[in-house]
């Protein structure tokens, strides 16, 4: 276990170093614009998997947590001119409280009711924000970026690096859960909730924990988007496409291991960037939906499952 941890943290540091190097070497801003979005989806998908993959509770209100993260940042910038770090941290706190609230309200419910309840909460929150004049209501609000500081020469590069740090945090947290008895407890309650309870697993507490952590990370991942776009409006911040994208990325990647949503987000996020630019965002969602349905039918364990199946066959031959 310790050897695995050392390998992980070395990899993480190498990743961050590489990201930093890119920001210093590349002049063209476009890769950072696109790369930011992909890294953002990695954070969202990995966070989603804690509740959706490990515990088996399909949160379809990812867009609500994301939007709450964005608008927390908006409020902090408007009122306190808060720094990016404060925006992200506060968003995480707000996201965790929202996760707690959602959990307490819905986690006694069966799977499908939980999912519908998350949609319900998302719409209610979106409606409330749309009617909130202070943050611009339905029309939205413009935001001013602070001046960029060294060692970065553009704000987008800074955001790209920040999102990379969030990726490391999200993956580290998820990895910790996966390898701990929390992860095993979540897996047990996903397999058979009653049998888990009779075996002593504190199912409600674990589900709440998963909801809180998942919510905190998703909101944290959403907060920098306010500065990224320099603009926020409810329709974009609470876009239901976030929910379907993250669901697709996690399930297509495979939810047994944190590497699944990472792979899914990178693969689908890149495809998304390509399709949105070359064809249209509608076609992008269509491709996402079709891939989701195909994988869910034919490759239930996602890309991880396919790789292990073929690796197994190759090994035996």
């Amino acid at each position: 276990m310790r050897r695995g941890s050392i390998a992980f943290w070395c990899g993480a540091l190498v990743f961050l170093a590489a990201v930093f190097a890119l920001t210093q070497l590349l002049q063209n801003e476009y890769p950072f614009f696109a790369g930011y979005v992909i890294l953002q989806f990695v954070v969202l998908s990995v966070a989603w998997t804690i509740l959706g993959g490990y515990a088996g509770y399909v949160n379809f209100g990812t867009n609500a947590f994301f939007g709450v993260g964005v608008y927390t940042a908006v409020v902090l910038v408007q009122v306190f001119q808060a720094s990016l770090g404060v925006q992200i941290l506060t968003a995480a706190v707000v996201g965790s409280l929202l996760g707690l609230g959602v959990g307490l309200l819905t986690l006694r419910m069966r799977g499908i009711f939980f999912s519908i309840a998350t949609i319900a909460l998302a719409i209610i929150i979106e409606t409330a924000v749309t009617n909130w004049r202070f943050v611009g209501g339905a029309a939205g609000i413009q935001l001013q970026r602070p001046p960029v500081t060294a060692p970065f020469d553009s704000y987008v590069k800074l955001l790209f690096f920040v999102q990379a740090v969030l990726v490391v945090i999200a993956v580290a947290v998820t990895r910790f859960i996966q390898n701990s008895r929390i992860g095993r407890g979540l897996q047990a309650l996903r397999d058979d909730e009653l049998a888990a309870e009779c075996t002593g697993v504190p199912t409600l507490r674990l589900k709440l924990l998963a909801c809180v952590i998942s919510g905190a990370l998703i909101s944290a991942g959403g907060a920098p988007a306010a500065m990224y776009l320099q603009y926020a409006n409810p329709e974009a911040a609470f876009d239901l496409n976030y929910s379907i994208s993250v669901l697709a990325m996690s399930l297509i990647g495979g939810t047994a291991h944190w590497i699944g949503p990472v792979l899914g987000a990178i693969l689908l996020g890149t495809t998304q960037q390509f399709l949105q630019v070359t064809i249209s965002s509608e076609v992008n969602v269509l491709v996402l939906g079709i891939m989701l349905v195909l994988f869910v039918i034919a490759a239930p364990r996602g890309i991880i499952g396919l790789v292990t199946r073929f690796a197994g066959k190759g090994g035996r031959a």
């Binding site: 399909v58 309200l105 719409i123 409606t127 379907i244 269509l286 239930p300």
Partner: protein, 291 residues
């Protein structure tokens, strides 16, 4: 600012609206309430039906209600195929099927929505018919004719479906399979074929409901999102498996929406059904008349 007359008008319109919601939700009462299928794509099929009606009305001048009737067999087939796919892939497998089953229907819902956008664009579409645009005076009220027609058709649809499920042999078989699938199997019946048929009916009903939807007001491709709230609110409030409860629950929802619309305006309307749904789930999850 707020008069009794306004309230009365809101209630009357709410009842009309409610019956319409019943027609829209009764299919879900069967597919989700009785058959336990997480049919999140139900509203997407509804909107799809509306657009099919639009196509027939726009291109061939067919009356929307007639068009709705015409597409009913197509939607029956669609329902049967969807259930078959769902059953083969998910109902027969083990524990993980729950997550993937829900994801399957979310995926289908999104695919349908995007296909509609690609084909018809994001703008609203509406149908034309002789009864659209007129209004009747009933007592003090002016009620649009199309609302009255939708009300009448919806009521007839809901009542006849309720009667079908309780009085006919097949209807009772459907209720039986919802209660005790194993028992039915032991008696020699094939529960899968019964459920398939039931799901087909639940989807076929959407043909007519879709026609009513576009008759009552213009549709756009994202309408399925707010209807997830409305249909699931009705089905949960009624109590899973209670067909008669669907009508009562729908009217409650219709009146609630109508009153809020009158008092607070349209920007809060989408949230009503979702708020009601959450309330019911939190306080009385078995609904009014649940199984």
């Amino acid at each position: 600012m707020f008069s009794m007359e306004l309230l009365r008008d809101a209630v009357v319109l709410g009842v009309l609206l409610g019956c319409f919601y019943a027609a829209v939700s009764i299919g879900l009462s069967i597919s989700f309430g009785l058959l336990d299928v997480p049919q999140v794509a139900h509203p997407a099929f509804l909107v799809l039906a509306s657009y099919c009606v639009f196509l027939l009305n726009d291109s061939y001048d067919i009356d929307p209600l007639l068009a709705g009737l015409l597409i009913t067999p197509v939607f029956f087939l669609l329902g049967v195929l969807t259930y078959r796919l769902y059953h083969e892939t998910f109902e027969r497998r083990g524990s993980d099927a729950g997550v993937r089953g829900i994801a399957f229907f979310f995926g289908i819902a999104f695919i349908i929505e995007v296909l509609i956008i690609l084909q018809f664009g994001v703008d609203q579409q509406s149908v034309s018919a002789s009864y659209i645009g007129k209004a009747w005076r009933i007592g003090d009220l002016r009620i649009p004719v199309r609302q009255l027609i939708a009300f009448a058709v919806a009521l007839a649809l809901t009542v006849s479906l309720a009667v079908y499920l309780s009085k006919t042999f097949m209807g009772r078989a459907i209720r039986a399979v919802a209660q005790d699938e194993e028992g039915l199997r032991l008696m020699g019946a094939n529960p899968v074929r019964i459920k398939q048929f039931a799901f087909g009916i639940a989807t076929a009903v959407l043909g007519i409901a879709g026609a009513l939807l576009i008759v009552v007001s213009p549709v756009d491709p994202t309408l399925d999102r707010v209807y997830i709230g409305r249909t699931f609110c009705v089905v949960v409030m009624a109590g899973l498996g209670s067909i008669s409860g669907t009508l009562i629950a729908s009217i409650i929802l219709g009146v609630a929406e109508s009153i809020v619309l009158t008092m607070f305006g349209a920007s809060w309307a989408p949230a009503i059904s979702f708020a009601l749904l959450l309330g019911v789930l939190a306080v009385r999850p078995q609904g009014l008349l649940g199984r």
